[in-house]
């Protein structure tokens, strides 16, 4: 590895500023070697622990018996048509319905694709004025709909309890009990309602009625993730609690202070951010990130500074002082010939960062916005808002919308309960027992209520809270519910059910209305009344239907609230920020992040989200203590050992994950893990289903829910094996030197300055693309044959291709879940992920550049590139993977005999093999037999309803990979044919493309020069990954542009800027020096017809991965 001395080397050589995937690669550790030299780790071909040889024989025996009994003809099928077919319903065809759901504290404007009345896929409502895309939660919520663990009670619709045990009961029993309870409650002094903050006008309206009826009742809104820092700050600023609404479309400069703004603020915001990341489309924005750990936003940053969270308030104050000074006309000189930003120490780095940032803010003026994360507390948030007001961006880029407020905080509510004031408690969802912080003992509070009166829990799962409440009621899933929500931009939207409640749940609207004794208990009517009242008294039926159909109505939009800032500016602290360089193991800072999957733990039973590799760490089925290697070393730890984090008596034990670029002494961890009653996927201690991850709530406290300071870190020399996908599918094979030599050509990036100097720098960064034989290829390629046909007046055949803009991609993972949902990709489980058997067709590769204390990250979505000269096709002995004349590398599953030659020969490592029947026997998928004996098999079948009927569910022993969503392509083509026209760009939208809020993915017909994808590929930033192998990938990437100010450039960026030469397209013959300055974007074929063949041998020797196959052979 040469990255350590990268700043000091002189001659430009391709390997100088190479990228590395992980610290073990950086240090050349043994673990990485294993990934490098073996296709799968040792033992990958063993059967999983859970399946004994005996069970295996049973399974195989059963399969053989089935085969014999299946007979010769296909089994007889019955067609059961409707008696009266609903108008407009076409059996077997997909239809979409608009809905708006509130999920994980956010409003989503969605389209639900349904087949025969069954929702199968979540899409973004692109017609919605604020429909920007979807994210992982929205994409995965469909799996939760069919989660059989929601089936809470074997008999009885609801459950109540007497002294000792839980007894099944019916909704009618509850209705009786509730009306008695309400009648006895009087003015409601002993009544309390606990819920998550909501943006649903109907729920708020009913709660208002409750308050009318029982003025003394207590309402408590508890946000188990963020705490109430934002509420406190906004109450102080505006006199009322409000939520922050960002509008980054016009922002030239964004400063994110310990705020993972791109993932925390929702897909709309990341869409606005990404719309300004294409240098061809106008002025790029610039993102400064100051953070303790490493987040997705940090990876997307143009300039990033790692700083301890406790230093951020002083940082903000100091920034304010410098901006004010510059605005007053202060000037100062900057030394010339400064060393690169990554070549200086932390204090100098902090100083330079502050200086450049202050100048930039002054230049950007009211186009600059500072976003402060909730973790930093109310004061820092307030200071940020006041600074934005001075800049003029408050109200433009950063807005605030009032939110409804509970009467008390959770802490006060629990105090009231302890005093014995509350005798009846209604909890509306979201499992407060596990989400409440350490200093609030929710469980004993509920026990106290139960002893004195009645506790009622309405929740989707029979979870930890449900277990101890007197009544536990099943809550209907958002896709089964009537409801409504107001989104960040103020649009009112109705949530309409796509299917009747599968498991007998009720919505919170219905439960509230019945308890209040309302006349209208039908949730649809309740929502209609709310819509009426918002729409000036009443909506016509036509308007109502339009509202349901479109998902929004221009007239039903809340006007921007006029919030005026009260009070004077805060007195800034005078202490300047300090960039700590030493790690004090008695004074660590722990940041609590929302996992990309589980949120506060409410999605713990969602297999897609559990198996989703977390951004940057690539850990799944686990949470870890993420810290920099130096921090780990200071405590005496290393990757894979356990750390004890202690605050007083409270402690948690987490596995250490070493992550470059974290601030010293800062640990980042994710909440929502370690649930003991999540379900058969997410852990269920009672039924011996292993608990996933570790609950970090013991060291979270209600005054700062996202940050713990003064934490003691102590080593524990016990090993822990994290399930991670980080080094799996290692893309290259010929040793680390070779990897480094090439990695920069796999992921190409440059600064904006470099792009301005050399627009086609991506080509310069690539290696030489050899051309051999006719058409630059040793044999005739499908594309060429088709072109000839077309020239002969043959038919028009679309040529599919994809373009991914790395400048826009934020690595948010939405595409990964969308792909899993669309293509019936199984969930394999923790054990199998450890064996590199994850099945995701689409993965996000991330590469580090720099050294371990200060590293930049680039990310690349990677799936099958559909090479025109695909290496996998050459080695398939049964022609199971073949090319179509539309340029798609197709898989015929029925032909595949599972030799895995293709995976071995794939230079991108994107092929996935079904080692087991993940859908039935092993794994936690849509399996009907996955948990024999645990719950009836019939129950588990519910999960299978999530599969997309347009895509084959693969069985054991079959290879699979990205198909470019062939089912959507065929659908688009057929749609065009039905309408009597040829297929257009808009007919085919792949699942990843539609899920992407950043619009980073374009897909379409390359044969049409006017198509969006053709235009993207003509962009000078476009390059094909491993194009030098002459594989001619159909998926191309647009090189990433970092809008880094010159003074904050790293050595690598400066080196590129000064020394990189433009690619020269002169005649061949002068490229003997091989890799480096001579490249060729293959798409435009500038090298012409004569081509060069002198490099072909060279490229061949690199192209085919010569993996050791002992492990593979042992599988059989």
């Amino acid at each position: 590895m040469t990255s350590n001395d990268s700043a000091s080397t002189e001659t430009p050589s391709p390997g100088k500023h190479g990228y590395w995937r992980s610290l073990s690669e950086y240090h050349g550790r043994e673990e990485f070697d294993q990934y490098l030299h073996r296709e799968f780790p040792v033992g990958a071909s063993e059967l999983p622990d859970g399946v004994s040889r005996r069970r295996w024989l049973q399974l195989m025996g059963a399969s053989l018996a089935m085969a014999g009994a299946a007979g010769c003809r296909y089994p007889e099928e019955v067609i059961a048509p409707f008696v009266i077919r609903p108008e407009g319903r076409i059996p077997g065809e997909t239809y979409s319905r608009a809905t708006n759901i509130e999920l994980a504290g956010r409003a989503y404007n969605l389209l639900i694709n349904c087949v025969d009345g069954r929702p199968v896929k979540i899409e973004c409502n692109t017609d919605h004025p604020s429909g920007g895309g979807t994210d992982t939660y929205a994409q995965a919520c469909i799996l939760g709909l069919y989660d059989p663990d929601r089936a809470r009670f074997d008999s009885g619709e609801v459950i109540t309890r007497d002294e000792k045990r839980r007894i099944p009961a019916s909704w009618a029993d509850f209705d009786d009990a509730a009306s008695n309870l309400m009648a006895a409650a009087g003015d409601g002094a002993s009544m309390a309602v606990l819920m998550s903050p909501t943006q649903s006008p109907s729920v708020l309206r009913l709660l208002g009625k409750l308050k009318e009826k029982m003025p003394a009742a207590t309402l408590c809104a508890f946000d188990g993730v963020h705490g109430d820092a934002m509420q406190t700050a906004t109450t102080k600023l505006f006199g009322q609690p409000a939520k922050q609404v960002l509008s980054l479309k016009d922002a030239d400069l964004i400063v994110s202070l310990q705020c993972d703004v791109l993932s925390a603020a929702g897909p709309e915001v990341s869409s606005q951010f990404s719309s300004r990341r294409d240098p061809d489309e106008g002025k790029m924005n610039r993102l400064y990130v100051v953070e303790g750990g490493y987040t997705t936003t940090g990876a997307a940053a143009d300039a990033r500074l790692a700083l301890r969270p406790s230093q951020m308030k002083p940082f903000l104050d100091e920034l304010g002082r410098r901006v004010a000074a510059l605005q007053d006309g202060e000037t100062h000189d900057h030394p010339e010939d400064e060393p690169a930003f990554d070549a200086i120490g932390r204090p100098e780095r902090l100083e330079r960062f502050l200086d450049v940032l202050a100048h930039d803010i002054v230049d950007a003026g009211d186009k600059a916005v500072i976003v402060v994360g909730d973790a930093l507390g109310a004061e820092a948030i307030e200071a940020g808002v006041r600074m934005n007001r001075k800049l003029g961006s408050l109200g433009e880029l950063q807005k605030f919308a009032p939110v409804a407020k509970g009467d008390v905080t959770l802490k006060d509510l629990v105090a009231k309960i302890d005093n014995g004031d509350i005798k009846n408690l209604l909890i509306l969802g979201d499992n407060p027992v596990t989400t409440s912080p350490a200093d609030i003992d929710m469980a004993s509070a509920i026990a106290k209520v139960s002893a004195a009166g009645t506790s009622i829990y309405l929740g989707e799962y029979d979870d930890e809270t449900s277990l101890i409440c007197d009544w536990s009621l099943p809550l209907a899933h958002p896709l089964e519910s009537w409801g409504d929500v107001v989104n960040d931009e103020g649009y009112y939207g109705v949530c309409q059910p796509q299917i009747l409640p599968l498991l007998g749940g009720r919505t919170s609207l219905e439960v509230l209305a019945r308890m209040l004794g309302e006349d209208e208990i039908d949730p649809q009517l309740i929502v209609r009344r709310t819509a009426d009242s918002l729409g000036a008294g009443s909506l016509s039926n036509r308007q109502w239907r339009k509202l349901l159909h479109d998902g929004y109505d221009e007239t039903l939009k809340e006007a921007d609230a006029e919030l005026t800032i009260q009070g004077d500016d805060l007195t800034p602290s005078t202490a300047p920020p300090v960039a700590a360089t030493e790690v004090d193991k008695d004074n660590m800072e722990v940041l609590f992040q929302v996992a990309d999957g589980l949120y506060d733990g409410r999605f713990a039973n969602n297999g897609w989200l559990q198996e989703l590799p977390q951004p940057l760490t690539k850990v799944c089925w686990d949470n870890a203590a993420v810290m920099s290697p130096a921090t780990a070393a200071a405590i005496g730890l290393k990757h894979g050992l356990l750390i004890n984090l202690r605050i007083g008596d409270a402690k948690v034990q987490l596995p250490v994950y070493e992550m470059p670029g974290c601030a010293p002494g800062v640990v980042t961890t994710t909440i929502g893990y370690g649930r003991e009653r999540a379900g058969m996927v997410g852990g269920y201690a009672e039924k011996d289903v292993p608990v996933i991850g570790i609950d970090v709530n013991p060291i979270r406290f209600s005054d700062a829910m996202l940050l713990a300071v003064n934490v003691e870190g102590r080593p524990r020399f016990e090993e822990y094996d994290l399930a991670t996908t980080q080094d799996h599918w290692a893309i290259d094979d010929i040793g680390r030197d070779e990897t480094e030599l090439r990695s920069f050509s796999l992921v190409r990036e440059g600064s904006l300055a470099l792009w301005e100097k050399i627009p086609d720098f991506a080509e310069s960064k690539g290696t030489h693309v050899p051309h051999v034989g006719e058409d630059g290829s040793p044999f005739e390629e499908p594309l060429k044959i088709i072109k000839k046909e077309s020239e002969d007046g043959g038919p028009m055949v679309p040529q599919w291709g994809m373009s991914v803009d790395l400048s826009k991609c934020t690595g948010c993972n939405a595409c990964v879940v969308a792909c899993q949902s669309e293509n019936n990709i199984p969930i394999v489980g923790r054990e199998q992920v450890k064996n590199s058997r994850e099945m995701h067709w689409l993965r996000i590769d991330r590469y580090f550049q720099g050294d371990e204390e200060n590293a930049n990250v680039v990310q690349t979505p990677m799936s099958c590139s559909h090479c025109e000269t695909a290496p996998c096709e050459q080695v398939c002995p049964v022609a199971a993977t073949v090319h179509t004349n539309e340029g798609i590398n197709a898989m015929a599953y029925n032909r595949c005999i599972g030799t895995r030659y293709c995976a071995n020969n794939c230079p991108f490592k994107v092929r996935r093999f079904n080692y087991f029947n993940y859908n039935e026997d092993i794994g936690v998928g849509y399996g009907v037999k996955a948990f024999p004996g645990a719950i009836e098999n019939a129950n588990r079948k519910l999960q299978a309803l999530v599969v997309n009927p347009d895509v084959t569910v693969r069985g054991r022993g079959v290879m699979e990979k990205c198909t470019y969503c062939i089912q959507r392509i065929e659908k688009g083509k057929i749609k065009a044919r039905t309408e009597g026209r040829t297929v257009q760009d808009s007919d085919v939208v792949t699942a990843c493309q539609s899920a992407c809020s950043a619009n980073a993915i374009e897909f379409g017909n390359l044969a049409d020069p006017e198509s969006a994808v053709s235009k993207k590929r003509k962009n000078k930033r476009s390059y094909g990954m491993l194009a030098e192998l002459n594989v001619k990938p159909r998926t191309e990437y647009l090189a990433r542009i970092r809008n880094t100010p010159v003074r904050l450039m790293t050595a690598a960026q400066i080196d590129d800027l000064n020394n990189l030469e433009a690619p020269h397209h002169a005649a061949h013959g002068e490229h003997g020096d091989g890799h480096g300055e001579h490249g060729d974007g293959h798409a435009d074929g500038v090298h012409g017809e004569d081509g060069h063949d002198d490099h072909s041998g060279d490229s061949d020797s690199h192209s085919d991965e010569e993996k050791k196959t002992e492990g593979a052979a042992a599988a059989h």
């Binding site: 007889e76 019955v78 048509p81 009266i84 043959g794 038919p795 798609i888 347009d950 065929e970």
Partner: protein
């Protein structure tokens, strides 16, 4: 070492062995080549339906268009089997007052009892599926009929069938045959459901097919991904 010799009494058994070998060859040939051939297994499959519905009367004698019942065929993958309501359009039973609609026919027919029962109870009629492709094949009616492939090409002369049976193999080889050269199956779009309509001469057919393929950009593919996803 002494050579091993088969004893003489083995010799008569050689004949048995030869017969067994020959029988094996015949068996293999019959199983592989004839009995498991789609022609044998699938063609002519004619299950008994819950209602003795006659396509020969409705589509043949009465000349009802296929799309009166199978109305989704031009826009969807499935040429949906009609809902009971479609039958009731003509065969509506007497109403509560015992009056039958003037236009209704065969309101009392015992053969239609399952239809009336379905109408009254709201439960589907359980039709037996005849043309059944494996689950890993994704066939789409709309793609075919909108290109001018007539119903007849795959379903035969349904208008002459008292009881519907499978007329073609519906095997992959049979599919591909047409995908490689669809010319003789192409008819004008307005004649797709006209089962008795034919071109007068083969030349006329060939000429029309050439024009049609150009006009509608008909270029059937024979790669796997078209049907297997």
């Amino acid at each position: 070492m002494q050579r091993f010799l088969f004893p003489r009494w083995i010799n008569p058994l050689l004949g048995v062995l030869a017969i067994a070998g020959a029988a094996g060859a015949v068996f293999t040939g019959a199983m592989g080549g004839l009995i498991t051939d789609p022609e044998t297994l699938n063609v002519g499959y004619e299950p008994e339906q819950p209602v003795p519905f006659s396509h020969a009367i409705h589509a043949g004698q009465l000349k009802m268009d296929c799309r009166y019942c199978h109305n989704t065929v031009f826009e969807a993958a499935h040429a949906a089997v009609p809902p009971t309501a479609t039958c009731i359009n003509c065969h509506s039973p007497a109403n509560d007052q015992g009056i039958t609609a003037l236009t209704a026919v065969h309101t009392e027919s015992p053969k239609l009892a399952p239809v009336r029962e379905s109408w009254e109870t709201g439960r589907s009629i359980a039709w037996k599926r005849i043309h059944n492709l494996p689950e890993f094949v994704y066939f789409n009616h709309a793609a075919h009929v909108n290109s001018g492939v007539g119903c007849k090409s795959c379903h035969g002369r349904i208008d002459q069938m008292e009881v519907v049976y499978q007329h073609e193999q519906l095997s992959m080889a049979w599919c591909i045959e047409c995908h490689r050269n669809p010319d003789k199956h192409l008819v004008p779009l307005d004649k797709v459901t006209k089962l008795d309509w034919e071109f007068e001469t083969e030349e006329e057919q060939a000429k029309f097919a050439a024009e049609q393929r150009k006009k509608l950009n008909i270029n059937p593919q024979d790669n796997c991904a078209v049907c297997h996803r």
